[in-house]
């Protein structure tokens, strides 16, 4: 989106309140969605729940192609479509809903820095494990990614995506890494997050911010997704404060809200629970 278009959109956005019929689109939950997309989708859901904005989750096999940026998840609010957490945060702020207004400049800088740490390390590691580890790619990623399509399109699309991700990995210098090095990076990233969180309930003490939503999305998804080995989730399990952080957000924003609103299973899209 160009800057002018962005400014235009945010002006329009400010005019209208958040509608009741907002929809979040993601790939099919059971058969198709991949670890990284699931994490991003959960982060957006957690963010919107922290703000108390209602959104209905719809699974579509072609969600990736419906999205304006080619990335999932995206939300459809009124007559606008916004994809990914960063732009969605801007969009909700334009509508007057924000989690980080109480932070000062230094805290905001710190929050942005940690969000980039999660994107730079956890998200990239997820992509690496999905597409560059041949075991995972052959057993899980390619079959799942291409599950809605028939032969020969399934092979073409899966290999095309794999080629794309691998090109990205070599551009950022991850192509030469081994799986062990990637696990080591994940471990370092979790250690940094764990140190930053300390004994606080959220990263910036009492109030959740978009950073909490992002970290929760990634850690929770890694913890509850079965891969070829469980080495990735083991890395997180060694940090007890991160585990209880995930548990706390799950309880506060997913379980209790679902119980209160009685929306039932159709709105409950987080997948399996911790415990």
């Amino acid at each position: 989106m160009s800057l002018a278009a962005e400014a235009f959109v945010s002006q329009i956005a400010a005019a209208e309140p958040w509608p009741e019929n907002a929809i979040l689109y993601q790939p099919l939950r059971e058969d198709q969605i991949l670890l990284s997309d699931c994490a991003s989708s959960l982060a957006v859901q957690a963010y919107l729940r922290m703000l108390g904005l209602p959104v209905r989750v719809q699974c579509r096999a072609n969600a990736e192609y419906m999205s304006p940026s080619g990335k999932v998840p995206f939300i459809h609010v009124g007559n606008q479509v916004v994809s990914e957490l960063g732009p969605i945060v801007q969009f909700t702020r334009a509508k007057g809903h924000s989690l980080s207004d109480g932070l000062d400049d230094v805290q905001r800088a710190e929050m942005k820095a940690y969000m980039e740490l999660v994107n730079n390390m956890l998200l990239t590691a997820e992509l690496y494990i999905q597409w560059c580890d041949e075991n995972t790619a052959a057993e899980i990623t390619r079959p799942r990614y291409s599950s809605p399509y028939s032969w020969p399109l399934n092979h073409i699309l899966a290999y095309q995506k794999q080629w794309e991700v691998r090109r990205k990995m070599s551009a950022i210098g991850w192509a030469g890494k081994t799986l062990e090095q990637v696990y080591e990076d994940v471990s370092q990233c979790c250690q940094a997050l764990s140190q930053r969180l300390g004994t606080q309930p959220f990263f910036f003490n009492k109030q959740p911010t978009e950073l909490d939503a992002l970290v929760f999305g990634h850690l929770f998804t890694i913890l509850t997704t079965r891969l070829t080995t469980d080495e990735l989730s083991e890395k997180i399990k060694s940090y007890s404060n991160l585990l209880s952080f995930c548990r706390r957000i799950e309880q506060t924003y997913f379980e209790s809200q679902d119980r209160d609103s009685q929306l039932g299973a159709s709105d409950y899209s987080k997948g399996p629970s911790l415990m």
Binding site: M1, S2, L3, P68, S69, G70, K71, D105, V106, R108, A109, E110, K112, A113, Y114, E116, L117, N119, N120, M121, E164, R167, K168, A171, I172, G173, Q188, C189, Q191, A192, L193, Q195, R196, G198
Partner: protein, 307 residues
Amino acid sequence: MELLCWGGDWDLPSVHTESLIVLAYAKFAGAKLTVKLVDWTWRTITATVPQLHHEGTSVTEPTQILNFLRQNRFNADYELSAKQGADTMAYIALLEEKLRPALLHTFWVDAENYANLTRPWFASHSPFPLNFFVPSRQASVALSRILLTKAEAPLHSVAEVEGKIYSEAKECLNLLSHRLGSSHFFFGNTPTSLDAFVFGYLAPLHKATLPSAQLQQHLKQLHNLCQFCTNILKSYFSEAASGSAPASQDAVDANLQKLTQLVNKESNLIEKMDDNLRSSPQHRPSRPHKPEAKPSSLATARNLTPA
């Protein structure tokens, strides 16, 4: 230890961000590096720069080199708490994700800067016939990195991402400026690896004479970041600093290095007080006092250095 890196220009020890990071960290940690320039050799095209050689092993990539130096007891982050270590990682990720794409664009993709500054510099520092290949190869690496990491779909053109990467980079500079505030370094009074990274990213942008300079203009408005670069250049890379360097380079102990810095700072303070005294009305100086103040402070620093 021998470091292979791109040479310096524009008042910088190296024009290359990654090389600058390593050079700055080595100064902060008191590691003695023999700098070997890659300029005018065939390694401009074969080697990954910067590259550290030590007793048969070679390490590339700034993060790996910094880790290697830490393992060899050259640690500038010795005094950081665990949380500050975590912050360091986070801010380095912020620089990589938000600032690096725009820097690559400014130096390698922006047509005016590339034609008038970057290509001439790298071409004139590569041997014939590599001067025809080295700049264009680096430019295409930079462009593909920007497109692959920032473009929304694989076939989009660079024009569509320009606006986005520049606004992200300006935001990143603002965040860094807020974080630095009025302090000398990011974590108190001694420089750490985060300072080395920020310096490596900002110094070329601060010093290069760019024909098309929208990001540079933005940096110039953030005075504390400019001051930060100037300070590091002055206290670690200027002639005066290299004059006092031999004394500190013998000191392997990082604490000794810190003591030296402290003494330097104190002698600067004394110098300032001295200046103030001399410029006070009852003691009008008969000669200009600025030039002679410098060597005297150096002498004190040297005398007080235990090594």
